[in-house]
């Protein structure tokens, strides 16, 4: 399972404990990246201790599973006034090295908390240098970009890159520009669970044949 961040509300130890208890019930191996809510304790100690012991920098890392290369990025650190999420030079350099030796047929799944593409600048829903990260991945035949933060589903495809945001399991947020702020949206109780959810990503091999016909000399 991939958790795209905001495990907690206020980075408190008991909140991390509660989340861990609930998530562990799924019985799955879980890979995390931090959301801005997970890094608000002093020195960001709790997240690091629990989830980023073997990660680089502020918590970025990669791993391979079933032939897919997974990359977890951190874009909620050192946020600057008036700016969007940021990856930073160190992380981009690491990303470049991380994918350098891989064949372009390796499926890539990259995930971060804030959208790596600009969903809505006015609400800070994007990443300043997200396009630089994506450009490092464009050579690959299949790139899936996942994120949380905006608590609703949006998708787009650019060439071989599929962007997909996810619903939240916590609360609903409004569509861009439809409310005075991105604050929690009050929805009727009976509708709530239809607006919260998780995302499944399946590994699907392409099934298109090449338009080339081979004819043996003898049938």
């Amino acid at each position: 399972m991939i958790h795209t961040g905001d495990i907690t509300h206020l980075s408190k130890a008991e909140e991390f404990d509660n989340a861990n208890h609930a998530i562990s019930e799924a019985g799955l191996e879980v890979h995390y990246v931090p959301g801005e809510h997970d890094l608000i304790d002093e020195e960001m100690k709790l997240y690091r201790e629990r989830y980023a012991k073997n990660a680089k920098g502020a918590g970025w890392y990669s791993f391979d599973s079933n032939g897919v290369h997974f990359i977890g990025l951190v874009n909620v650190m050192n946020l600057q006034a008036g700016k969007l999420g940021i990856l930073g030079e160190d992380q981009l350099k690491w990303l470049q090295d991380d994918v350098a030796g891989r064949t372009v047929s390796t499926p890539i799944v990259v995930f971060a908390h804030i959208p790596l593409w600009t969903v809505y600048e006015q609400w800070g829903w994007g990443t300043e240098d997200g396009s630089r990260a994506i450009s490092l991945l464009r050579k690959f035949g299949s790139v899936t970009v996942l994120n949380g933060h905006i608590h609703q589903v949006m998708q787009k495809i650019e060439g071989n890159v599929a962007f997909h945001t996810a619903m939240s399991t916590a609360f609903v947020q409004p569509a861009p520009g439809t409310a005075p702020s991105p604050g929690p949206l009050k929805v009727p109780d009976e509708k709530l669970r239809s607006l919260l959810g998780i995302t499944d990503v399946n590994f699907v091999r392409g099934n298109q044949r090449l338009a080339i016909i081979d004819k043996p000399l003898q049938a």
Binding site: H9, E36, L79, G82, Q122, G124, G177, P180, G183
Partner: protein, 124 residues
């Protein structure tokens, strides 16, 4: 896209109107408009008022009225609150005249300004 452009165009106008109305009040009332216990409310992912003028050696209090935690961090890191949960507040006393820009380090599109007037200007 239509919506995006539309909103962008409106934004500066609205900011200007807010600023204008605020300046208008302080102008008319002079020093009397400088509240004794000035408070900036944090609501709807914004600092309200976005710009506040106070006398030197005044404590400004920020009060989070949102359901989401926010922080108050000066651009120069001169003051920095911890994360303010709903109903939490943070105060800082300004001992030097000047213009202080700040933002929320969790939602950096939220920005505000505190203008601190020197004693002589405030007494005018």
């Amino acid at each position: 896209m239509q919506r995006l452009r539309h909103t962008r165009r409106l934004r500066p106008c609205r900011a200007f109107l807010l600023a204008a109305s605020f300046l208008g009040v302080t102008h008319v009332l002079g020093g009397a408009a400088l509240a004794e216990n000035p408070t900036v409310n944090i609501e709807d992912f914004a600092f309200s008022p976005p710009s506040l003028t106070v006398k030197i050696r005044t404590a400004v209090t920020w009060l989070n009225k949102d359901d989401i935690p926010h922080t108050v961090v000066s651009k120069t890191r001169m003051f920095k609150s911890k994360a303010l949960d709903t109903g939490d507040s943070f105060s800082f006393t300004f001992n030097e005249a000047g213009t202080y820009e700040y933002f929320c380090s969790l939602h950096p599109h939220m920005m505000g300004t505190i203008v601190v007037e020197s004693a002589s200007r405030a007494a005018r």
